[in-house]
Symmetry: C2
Subunit: 107 residues, 2 copies
């Protein structure tokens, strides 16, 4: 995974921080399917994800409306339900407006 | 590391996404020192971090002024310089206003 190319500010970020239950129980396949489905949503700008005990997934969006539509997506609602029932000990979701950004590359 | 307890919205988040160069070169010690130093800053609310190829560190703050003060911190300026010179292939920093949050716990 690479750093998301998100274009000019302002745009929006959803920071999803989670701690998993043990075992997979279909989690890996669903996580892959959700990344693929999110990328097809209108207003999707990119995603960054890492897990090291704590998991952090940040998805980037053009607008709050795009985030709301993704939250209501039927396949995503199923994943959210399974997440609460099976996959997550706990999670926190934060909806943010990205006001400024800057980057560095040695290339 | 656990999910940060960040209190009521609004507050601010700095999403720092990075890809490391190979080798440590003092990085691990400096990363630990920076987490410790950030936690002592006025207005610091918490931090979440994971690396899995891509590294994502999200720090949370009471205000943009608190973020600006941390950016100017002398020890932090040294770390930022070494980061560009040695530790990072590339990084992106995003300054965000957290507008809403919600969480789930099975406990």
């Amino acid at each position: 995974m690479s750093i998301a190319s998100t274009g000019a500010t302002p745009y929006y970020a959803v920071i999803f921080t989670s701690i998993r239950t043990s075992g997979d129980g279909g989690y890996g396949d669903m996580a892959d399917a959700m990344l693929e489905a999110a990328a097809k949503q209108p207003g999707f700008l990119g995603v960054e994800s890492a897990r090291e005990g704590l998991g952090i997934t940040v998805s980037y969006w053009e607008s709050l409306e795009a985030i709301a539509a993704w939250k209501r997506d039927a396949e995503h609602l199923t994943a959210q339900k399974l997440g609460r029932e099976q996959w997550y000990e706990c999670y926190k979701t934060r909806i943010c407006k990205v006001e400024r950004d800057y980057d560095f590359s040695r290339l």
